[in-house]
């Protein structure tokens, strides 16, 4: 099986304008997500968006819209199994931005997971974050990311990680504004040959020292002829990107 097969953090087409707009100051932090639906008005000129948490009972309605949003510019889309993998297990960490004035209501989505990392820290992972092109620059991605992070914090997450393409400056800026740091660079991580940064956010002290059962450092270095790649998680095919 191909270990690096499909795209990850989806971002639809990039324009410099979109990237620049996305880099604009983030809106003030939202209140903790205690309810599944919040309404915020980001600017006066835009109709208000509705932010909702994913609901498994409405899979038929949500998943196709989500796929369409995320796959838009990916030459190689995620299979349905990837969506189901996340939504089946961590649907409550998935949030969507809806514009009810539109026929296709879903204009933004974040998909995540949260589980112990190798028996160690409880690690959140933001797998996909996408905002419809014409809605970018309004802080929607930041809002969605915050909702996902807040939901993970509620569930006692120790840390949150993700990857972004190194050319996706808008995404990198977004996460760095939220306090993420680049921990390493992943060479030719994506199918298109582009490299990625791993971005990490610690939420508690002592996370770095938590022991994991499967010690990644334990493996003898450079002794075998063939090196298995680290199990790459998700991959963006990288049409470049920004929100």
């Amino acid at each position: 099986m191909n270990p690096n097969p499909t795209p990850a953090l989806s971002s639809t087409a990039t324009t410099t304008a979109a990237a620049a707009a996305a880099a604009a100051p983030a809106p003030a932090p939202p209140p903790p997500t205690t309810t599944t639906t919040t309404t915020t008005t980001t600017t006066n000129t835009h109709p208000p968006l509705r932010y909702v948490r994913y609901d498994g009972a409405r899979e038929d309605e949500y998943v196709p819209a989500m796929r369409q949003l995320i796959s838009k510019d990916l030459s190689e889309p995620y299979s349905i199994y990837v969506y189901r993998y996340f939504l089946y297990q961590w649907g409550d960490l998935c949030f969507m931005a809806m514009d009810d004035s539109q026929q296709q209501r879903m204009v933004g989505v974040v998909v995540s997971k949260l589980e112990p990392h190798r028996g160690g820290p409880l690690r959140g992972y933001i797998a996909m974050l996408a905002v419809k092109e014409e809605y970018r620059g309004r802080g929607i991605a930041t809002k969605l990311a915050r909702m996902a992070i807040d939901a993970m914090i509620e569930r006692d997450a120790d840390e949150i990680v993700l990857e972004t393409e190194i050319t996706n400056t808008a995404a990198i800026k977004l996460y760095e504004r939220l306090g993420f740091l680049r921990s390493k660079r992943l060479h030719r991580y994506y199918l298109n040959g582009n490299s990625a940064y791993r971005l990490v956010l610690y939420l508690k002290e002592g996370v770095g020292s938590m022991r994991t059962t499967l010690d990644p450092y334990g493996a003898a270095e450079m002794t075998g002829a063939l090196a298995a790649p680290e199990p790459a998680l998700l991959h963006e095919n990288g049409s470049g990107g920004g929100w």
């Binding site: 097969p5 003030a28 190689e76 299979s79 990837v82 914090i153 030719r188 770095g208 090196a227």
Partner: protein, 787 residues
């Protein structure tokens, strides 16, 4: 509910996927069905309460598998999918006629297109998206030919009497076959070494072979034959096109030879082939315009026939200029790597290897694999030095000049009670334990840059453990060798701990490398720069202190030897020379680390000022989830487990990083002083040269690599000058600010009239990847003081 086997997948699945039962379906579908099932009434036993349409997930279904699963009947994922109106034959077969006559210009065009694909493969793209899109290659390679004669374009055709035109059969075929054989050598070399699949290279051959079953002699014969044919058929070809085709055939012959030479270069020491390749490249570039593309002879449809579960993927297109540039670097690196082959001690070897492999762009995966093989094979370094000797040379150079520990041999002393016998036994334990990690400090240079940093982060932990083990050995060896203690100024006595000292020295070098590669790979955020440069200087000063300690013992040994020297004792002269050589090496390392240290101190101070006056860009917002303390913990992650040097507690780090309590004037002076010290130290480093020389050695035996090394030092010196200018600019701006206050005491730290940008790696203003020198300029007056 467990995995649903493929055979019971219900027939009426239409919503998400469709099983293509027809023979036209070529994609292995099992993966997709293994993990999820779409429940239907007739499949689920009634005692299990599941709704129709409810999803069931196997608990062992991982993200890895989800990502790897394909969706059948989606044209973007399913390489066997037939579009509406597409039939089996159309889907698989191209109607390109491989037997057709080709104009010489077309042959030229195909050759160049193939070279582009070959280089794209070298760069890390799979064969399925590069060379294996060629219909000509496909015909030659599939089915796998039993004989080389069998590999021709007319195979499998019903009309066997159809004659393939000579231009195609003789010239293009020879070129294609020799090209595939070239790839065979590359594939063989890379796969025997340590590389990262899909990151560095894709080894997948899709059940084909790269003609490894045939001796390369045949390919040379074919090329010679083709060259002869071109020479004899000048009537059919215009002179220019003939020359262009001929040059490509000649190039291919040399390239094949060069790749065939491979590790044999240790014996042959020949650069002739790759030099000859290089001599053809300009002409190849110039004559490419004569070629005529034949795009219909390349097709992605071949992917449907390759044994693979990957979705259909586009052909990789690189320009001929890019292909030639890659090829040129490969050939030049192949020529220059001869300079690593003469063994002149571990120190010099490390310099040549790291310098060669730090070239930008980084040498290709083939070169990096070849260097790995040359460094060590069959427990021999460079095909000449046994690993144990190599390790001993290193120990002698750094911590154990003229020591009994390296001279004791269990082969010579057979009495187990003899201390020398026991020393030899202990040293054998040490050698077994340390050889591999030590050799890996050389081989790790061959990884891609990201992996070097990640690997060193991991090996740091190993070296920490090794140091502790070495310390145990040191204590036992000290008794056996009767090491005289050294009296310190305060009256305490201490011992040299040579083996653990040496391990610590390596570990500190690795700390430094992790930090410097962090700058190179743009890992650090701007607001981290003051702290990271402080940390780099902290590691450097720790290292300098450690080298001082080592030197103290070496000097003491040298002093003891002076008495022997005066008494003209046997071996005293030899010992003296070895000790002096070691002291020189310690001096050389000191100079270099002082240079790094001073530059780091200066940048640290400079960044402190920029941060204090709020002109340093920041990435995190006030509403960030994180805190400086948590971010420090992430940054220190590779070092958290390390016992020595001890982790700097956050509060202390913070005080140091912001230079708490020091006024701007003090910090400015610190920056200015340090940068002038750095400039001197880098000049001294440059003057010392790249290599340790024997006293009688004058000329550098590694000229090309030494040039790279010098360039690197000079770039660092340029960065120093850039930093001096930045410091001056800050000084002026702060003075102007103070003057404008007119002697009033400053209120809160104020923003200063400066604009700061951090030049990115690869940009012109970034003089050196390891030195992030900010560009500081007076901000334009309009609204400049507001930030």
């Amino acid at each position: 509910m467990r995995v649903v086997p493929e055979s019971v997948v219900p027939r009426d699945i239409t919503d998400d996927f469709t099983i293509a039962a027809s023979s036209s379906h070529l994609t292995p579908a099992g993966l997709a069905f293994k993990f999820y099932m779409w429940c239907t009434d007739d499949l689920i036993p009634s005692e299990i309460e599941l709704r129709t349409g409810q999803l069931v997930k196997d608990e062992y279904f991982t993200l890895f598998e989800a990502v790897g699963a394909l969706e059948i009947m989606d044209s973007k994922m399913d390489s066997g999918y037939l579009g509406p109106g597409e039939n089996h034959a159309q889907a698989l077969e191209d109607d390109y006629d491989l037997m057709r006559e080709l104009a010489p210009e077309e042959v030229l065009g195909i050759m160049d297109e193939l070279l582009c694909h070959e280089m794209a493969w070298h760069m890390g793209h799979p064969l399925s998206q590069t060379l294996f899109t060629s219909l000509y290659l496909d015909r030659l390679l599939w089915p796998v030919p039993k004989t080389l004669e069998n590999a021709h374009f007319g195979r499998g055709q019903s009309q066997s009497n159809e004659k393939v035109p000579d231009m195609v059969h003789v010239v293009l075929r020879a070129y294609c076959l020799a090209l595939v054989k070239s790839c065979d050598f590359v594939h063989a070399r890379v796969t025997t070494e340590y590389y990262f699949e899909e990151e560095d290279f894709v080894t997948q051959l899709y059940n084909r072979t790269l003609l490894s079953q045939f001796d390369s002699k045949h390919f040379h014969d074919l090329l010679d034959n083709a060259i002869r044919w071109v020479d004899e058929h000048t009537d059919m070809l215009s002179e220019k096109v003939a020359e262009a085709i001929r040059a490509r055939l000649l190039f291919r012959r040399e390239f094949l030879w060069g790749l065939e030479q491979d590790v044999e270069v240790i014996e042959t020491r020949s650069t002739a082939q790759f030099l000859s390749c290089l001599s053809h490249l300009d002409f190849l570039g110039k004559s490419a315009v004569l070629g005529k593309e034949v795009p219909e002879s390349f097709s992605c449809k071949i992917q449907r026939k390759l044994a693979s579960t990957v979705p259909p993927r586009p052909m990789v297109k690189i320009s001929f200029e890019d292909a030639l540039a890659h090829l040129r670097r490969l050939c030049q690196d192949a020529v220059d790597l001869l300079e690593i082959l003469d063994y002149r001690g571990p120190y010099n070897l490390k310099v040549v290897i790291w310098t060669l492999l730090s070239r930008k762009p980084q040498p290709s995966v083939y070169i990096r694999s070849l260097v790995q093989s040359l460094i060590v094979s069959n427990r021999t370094i460079l095909g000449a030095v046994p690993v144990k000797q190599f390790l001993y040379d290193e120990l002698e150079q750094i911590v154990l000049p003229s020591s009994i520990l390296l001279q004791a041999s269990a082969d010579e002393i057979e009495v187990p009670s003899d201390p020398r016998f026991q020393i030899a036994q202990h040293m054998d334990v040490f050698t077994k334990r340390f050889s591999q990690p030590f050799v890996d400090t050389f081989r790790s240079a061959c990884l891609n840059r990201c992996r070097i940093r990640r690997t060193v982060c991991h090996t740091l932990v190993d070296w920490d453990n090794l140091q502790m083990e070495a310390e145990d050995l040191d204590e036992q060896l000290r008794t056996l060798s009767n090491e005289p203690p050294l009296q310190l100024a305060n009256g305490d006595t201490t011992y040299s701990y040579p083996l653990s000292s040496w391990a610590y020295h390596h570990k500190l070098s690795q700390f430094r490398l992790i930090l410097q590669l962090g700058f190179e790979l743009s890992i650090y955020a701007p607001e981290e720069l003051p702290g990271m440069y402080w940390y780099l200087s902290h590691i450097c000063s720790t290292h300098l202190g450690h080298i001082d300690r080592i030197r103290t013992f070496t000097v003491a040994t040298a002093k003891r030897n002076l008495a022997d020297l005066a008494a003209k004792k046997r071996d005293a002269f030899e010992r003296h020379a070895v000790l002096q050589q070691s002291i020189r090496l310690l001096e050389r390392m000191t100079t270099q680390i002082v240079a790094v240290d001073a530059f780091a101190i200066s940048l640290h101070a400079l960044y402190v000022l920029l941060a204090r006056h709020r002109v340093l860009p920041t990435t995190s917002s006030p509403q960030a989830y994180s805190s400086d303390r948590l971010r420090y913990e992430i940054r220190m992650k590779p070092f958290l487990q390390i016992t020595l040097p001890e982790l700097v507690p956050y509060d202390e780090y913070h005080r140091e990083a912001v230079l708490e309590g020091d006024s701007d004037d003090i910090v400015l002076e610190r920056a200015a002083k340090a940068i002038s010290e750095a400039r001197k130290a880098w000049e001294a480093t440059l003057a010392n040269g790249a290599f340790m020389h024997d006293s009688d050695e004058k000329d550098s035996p590694a000229l090309a690599i030494e040039d790279d090394w010098k360039r690197d030092i000079k770039d660092t010196m340029r960065a120093c000058i850039g930093a001096s200018i930045a410091i001056e600019t800050v000084k002026k701006a702060l003075k102007a600010q103070a003057d404008s206050r007119n002697g009033e005491p400053p209120q809160a730290p104020q923003s200063v009239n400066l604009r700061v940008t951090i030049p990115e790696v690869g940009s012109k203003a970034r003089w050196h990847d390891w030195w992030v020198v900010p560009q500081v300029s007076p901000a334009t007056t309009l609204g400049a003081s507001k930030k």
